[in-house]
């Protein structure tokens, strides 16, 4: 009987040589007369072990990693196909502590299934959520989403059930479901991993949303920086149509849902939902003033449900297992699980799906194993480029929307970027302005002008030109941007800047200068 060996096709694994490993495995097995089928999956998100190769044995899967091209011959000679011993042998992947400690509700299939196979998806519990949804009426589905406590995972944390309800109640000849897959925050890759590893989970979540809100058309707005996700989604959608889970008469229910994936074009601002809709309509991604809210007047002026990838992908589990089961995870008003992405200078980076409430320190120490450079952690940016830089003293803050806000930070999309003690926080503050200047849509003045003035003023601070007065000016500018910007781009750029100034003041004194008191 043929032995199945899985090799991820996730972008990280590819970036570390997975395609070469897969080809060598296939060729090497053939040379040795071994009957091997190489199956391509997504990644389980243990990125320091990629490419992580798994062998299906009678005792279950056995993982090996990180497998380099030059390891392949030794692996095959050492009995890889029977789960034989080798220094790279990791054993049962689900028993690796990094994975065993997680609560994978949303990501449980990722890295396990063939991402573009409807059959494999269904064999691993796929489409049970949609089947459950089809037994309910629209109000019943929306009630499940509302009672689960699910909040928008894109960053704003708005209760998903309220949005769904608004679109459901809106009257129109055409409604839309739009997935915000413009995952632009540095340090985040949960959406990418999901779309490359288990795209049918997203497709199923969006289909349930379509059934609940009465929307028959859907779009996935995907950032162009994810070419692998684009190919996987297109392939999955085509296979879904063939299998009757997309298009007309889904699962024989008489309901239809047509889904299309669209590429962005390198504009970070298009992760903002109104800007995304402008872009999807074919215009410059300029932020729209609200109201009207997209739930009532969105894509092409029609009621549109816009949710993040992680919001949609939480839904099939909720419908399958019930709202209460989901709400049993988490803390306070942050219920369910949060896919945390641990990145930057970290020894063991990857995807960590756990209930809300874990502290930043627990994530870095229990999962991350310290910095990759081996130097001490100095700063941690949580929630993407608009998130705060936290010093060591704040690392015991739990990841919870309200607890993070209380410390002037944000959960955002759940990205955690670790910096060691070589980081220069004045440079990071300057970069926050630089990024805003590059990516501002230009509609409102505080953001458009403020970002550029911020870079200039930070340059003065850094080069010691009236540093103290200019730092005051930066603080004043931050206040204007926070209060006066139209959207989160300008409104939150001050967060990384001010957190750097507040928590790391020593980096904002010009080199060689002495504190005032010593003069």
């Amino acid at each position: 009987m043929s032995v199945t060996i899985t090799v991820p096709r996730d972008a990280v694994a590819l970036g570390l040589g997975a395609n070469k490993v897969a080809r060598a495995l296939f060729a090497g097995a053939e040379r040795r007369g071994l009957d091997v089928a190489v199956k391509r999956t997504g990644s389980r998100g243990l990125f320091w072990l990629e490419p992580m190769v798994e062998v299906e044995t009678p005792e279950g899967r056995i993982a090996y990693g990180p497998v380099k091209l030059e390891d392949v011959d030794a692996l095959l000679d050492g009995g890889l196909t029977t789960g034989g011993d080798h220094p790279l042998r990791l054993g049962d992947p689900e028993k690796i502590p990094f994975l065993a400690r997680q609560q994978r509700l949303t990501f449980h299939r990722c890295g396990v299934v063939d991402p573009v196979s409807v059959e494999d998806y269904r064999a691993h519990g796929g489409y049970r959520g949609l089947e459950a949804a089809l037994k309910l009426d629209a109000e019943g589905i929306v009630a499940q989403v509302r009672d689960s406590g699910l909040r928008g995972r894109g960053g704003a944390g708005f209760p998903a059930g309220i949005k769904w309800n608004t679109v459901m109640l809106a009257k129109a000849d055409q409604k839309y479901v739009v997935c915000n897959a413009d995952e632009g925050d540095s340090g985040t890759f949960a959406d990418r991993m999901m779309m490359e590893g288990d795209p049918f989970n997203l497709i199923e979540g969006m289909t349930i949303a379509g059934v609940a809100t009465g929307a028959t058309r859907g779009y996935i707005y995907l950032r162009s920086e994810y070419p692998q996700a684009y190919q996987t989604l297109k392939e999955a959608i085509a296979n879904g149509v063939k299998a009757g889970v997309l298009g007309e008469n889904i699962l024989g229910s008489g309901k239809s849902f047509h889904l299309e994936v669209r590429l962005g074009a390198g504009a970070y601002i298009c992760g903002e939902e109104t800007s995304l809709l402008e872009s999807l309509e074919g215009r410059r991604g300029i932020v729209r003033a609200k109201p009207p809210i997209p739930a009532l007047k969105g894509f092409l002026g029609k009621p549109t449900l816009v949710n993040n990838v992680m919001t949609f992908t939480a839904v099939p589990w909720i419908l399958e297992h019930g709202a209460k089961a989901y709400a049993d995870y988490g803390m306070g008003r942050s219920l369910g699980t949060l896919p945390i992405q641990l990145a930057g200078n970290i020894a063991q980076g990857g995807l960590i799906e756990v209930a809300f409430g874990i502290t930043i320190r627990e994530v870095i120490e229990q999962f991350g194993g310290g910095t990759r450079s081996g130097r001490p952690v100095r700063a941690v940016q949580v929630g993407g480029p608009l998130g705060a830089y936290f010093p060591d003293e704040l690392l015991d803050t739990p990841l919870d929307y309200e607890a993070m806000a209380a410390k002037k930070g944000l959960v955002g999309h759940g990205g955690i970027v670790v910096f060691d003690d070589t980081v220069d926080m004045a440079k990071q503050a300057r970069f926050a302005f630089e990024f805003c200047a590059a990516e501002s849509c230009g509609k409102c003045t505080p953001c458009r002008i403020g970002a550029t003035r911020g870079v200039e003023t930070m340059d003065k601070v850094i080069s010691g030109i009236r540093s103290e007065a200019n730092l005051k000016l930066v603080e004043d500018l931050c206040e204007v941007m926070t209060d006066g910007s139209l959207c989160a781009m300008g409104g939150l750029t001050p967060m990384p800047v001010m957190s750097a100034i507040t928590h790391f003041p020593e980096d904002f004194r010009p080199a060689g200068s002495l504190p005032v008191a010593a003069e």
Binding site: L263, G264, A265, G266, R284
Partner: protein
């Protein structure tokens, strides 16, 4: 073998016609044109405007808003280097300075032999394995200047 076709208005008109049935067709058209010709020629602007019943200013505005679309041909290969925070934490700034120096170009520049254009990008979603890059559409994790040089030699052949 050149990767891109030379600009041709009739060919462009054909590509545009394939997309006009889409809702919000502008971006799909621009992507398709750039994929074919390597850039969006100024001659495409009136063609798109006509096909979609837009003003030329609207089409021009759309092209110039997005970082992806370029108005002039680039090198045969595009290297996108991630400059965002997670890669900064892995030392991308000094790496990029080294790479640009070796290639003898600045950001957005094309090497003298026309082999590659280097562009900055903010996040490729490879944030636990930085510094990261995309060579054409191929991801590269834990990038080094030597690895990039080797990869560029490989694609040249």
């Amino acid at each position: 073998m050149p990767r891109f076709e030379p600009w041709s208005a009739p060919r462009a008109a054909g590509i545009i016609a394939e997309h006009t049935h889409l809702e919000g067709a502008t971006l799909p058209i621009l992507h398709a044109l750039q994929e074919t010709f390597g850039y969006v020629d100024a001659g495409a602007v009136p063609l798109i405007a006509d096909a979609l019943n837009l003003s030329r200013a609207e089409v021009h505005g759309c092209i110039t808003f997005y970082h992806d679309f370029r108005a002039h041909p680039a090198g045969r290969h595009t290297v996108k280097l991630c400059r965002a925070e997670a890669c900064q934490a892995q030392g991308c700034d000094s790496l990029h300075a080294d790479i640009l120096k070796r290639l003898g170009i600045a950001w957005h520049g094309t090497t003298a032999d026309g082999n590659c254009t280097v562009e900055p990008v903010y996040c490729l979603g490879l944030c636990a394995n930085g510094p990261a890059a995309l060579i054409d559409d191929e991801p590269v994790a834990h990038l080094t200047a030597d690895a990039l040089e080797a990869a560029l030699t490989e694609v040249r052949q």
